[in-house]
Symmetry: none
Subunit: 288 residues, 2 copies
Amino acid sequence: MRDETLAPVADQPSLAERIRHEMDSFTPSEKRAAHLLLSHYPFAGLDTVAGFASRAGISGPSALRFVTRLGFSGFPDFQKHLREELEAQLLSPLAKSGPIDTGPGASALASFANAVIGNLKATVENIAPAEFDAVVTLLSDPRRNIHFTGGRFTGAVARYAESHFRIVRSHVDFIEGQPALWRDRMIEIGRKDVIVAFDIRRYQEDVTALCETGAKQGATIVLLTDPWLSPIARVARHVLPAHITAPSNWDSSAGLLLLTEALVSAVTKRLWDTAKPRMEAVERLRNR
Amino acid sequence: MRDETLAPVADQPSLAERIRHEMDSFTPSEKRAAHLLLSHYPFAGLDTVAGFASRAGISGPSALRFVTRLGFSGFPDFQKHLREELEAQLLSPLAKSGPIDTGPGASALASFANAVIGNLKATVENIAPAEFDAVVTLLSDPRRNIHFTGGRFTGAVARYAESHFRIVRSHVDFIEGQPALWRDRMIEIGRKDVIVAFDIRRYQEDVTALCETGAKQGATIVLLTDPWLSPIARVARHVLPAHITAPSNWDSSAGLLLLTEALVSAVTKRLWDTAKPRMEAVERLRNR
DNA sequence: GCTATTTTGAAATTTCTGATACAGCTTTTC
DNA sequence: GAAAAGCTGTATCAGAAATTTCAAAATAGC
């Protein structure tokens, strides 16, 4: 575990923080429950057990075990805590530094930007540092092969990731989503491989199929998705959810890009001794 | 079709207001319920019927009658409304505007995110609304052909743009940066064409060459670049600069993505009458 | 590759909650 | 001051929700 930071603000450590810190000690279904709760904190937890469980993609009993593990005597006790925390938070004088430009005259660009910024904050706050670090460690392992893939829109983000990682380290490639293009490549996927998949709602079946096939062959799956979790979460070792809703007819991938860039940055630092010469070599090739 | 998420703006009068307004017409026990609810709004209402009733000093049935009178079909319905109202209020952009967590123990992800958010704000503030609108108008002209292109990293953002615009309107394509791949296509480029180029520092000569060739043949160039301006700016009609510095060995493209998504959003709205059927058609093809 | 351990969900069980019927009480009206 | 109308609470019930049990499935350990 890394930082032992106490409450960043004045209030007592919220349940959300505790969950983030304990994230890596959770079982897979507990992690799912935790992700759901954190991504819609704390409202997801105010649902019924059955509702919460089904939204998290787990069974009722697993949801119960999750709250028991957090130290509550039962689901009602858990909900009571959430309500009280929420009330305390809402009644506290929230320091609200204003957004860029409020008011009806705000330009379309400015209000769109505000929404995106809100997404980025929510995304960061809902990701456990331990989970992020675990992914950094995984992607920094030079003995692993890293494969990036994504859906029709997220594919571009996957490419963006690949174009950076390709320079930082070796054994990096991009896999097109369409099954016809990866079927034959899968024979080489095994325990040494890591598949980093980008998949947000209107989840794509072909990407899911790719990950399921990979997982079956022993590959480690890292998933960057939305708070509702792509079905790939079922087979993923690590899940990093990003908020994507925007005042638009389209979802925003800015959160995914943020995570991607943060991962690139962290892995580059971690592998600096080997990454630096590689980056210099690339520069030399470009400048000739 | 995806659901049309509207901006979370001017919400209807909250339940609290309605209760205050109708207070006079309540029976004595209804007034007790109302007072409790208003004095601990809305948390008191999230309790069980029995809990709410006993705190209000009334019986269960009276509490039920109270919520029925407010127009809800039952207690669960009433609670659902309260939760939704609360969530909408808490998640409104205002609540998310301070910096994330600036302490020394802040995670790497959080401080990276703060830098990116700073970039987004700076980007928005340095772009003239008129310039942005002009680009929207240009990209909304159905008689124009739109070509997207970009460098080794920004190319992914250009692809992202293309994959959205391709659905919203026709005559959209992506041009690979390498001259060998576009030389022959340039013969078709002329006055009716728009080239949208993404280019940030370590400016790529091949992208510059593409734009210069296009400009010479009468195409309109739109450039998304960094504040130091790619050389393409000399031939560009419109320039949208984005801040890109981050606490990393790499630049951040988040500002470019923000501009891209804002453009997609604005053009989609502008062309809604024709974009909607196109989007529906794409959905239908995907779902077969 | 097999066993021991952990994790998980379907089904059964228990608890509790929201809803209702009805009788007593209070207030209003003539 | 009596009857009618309205309001309220007790007792009860039906249904839903939380919880427990237990066997299957997955995982880890050797």
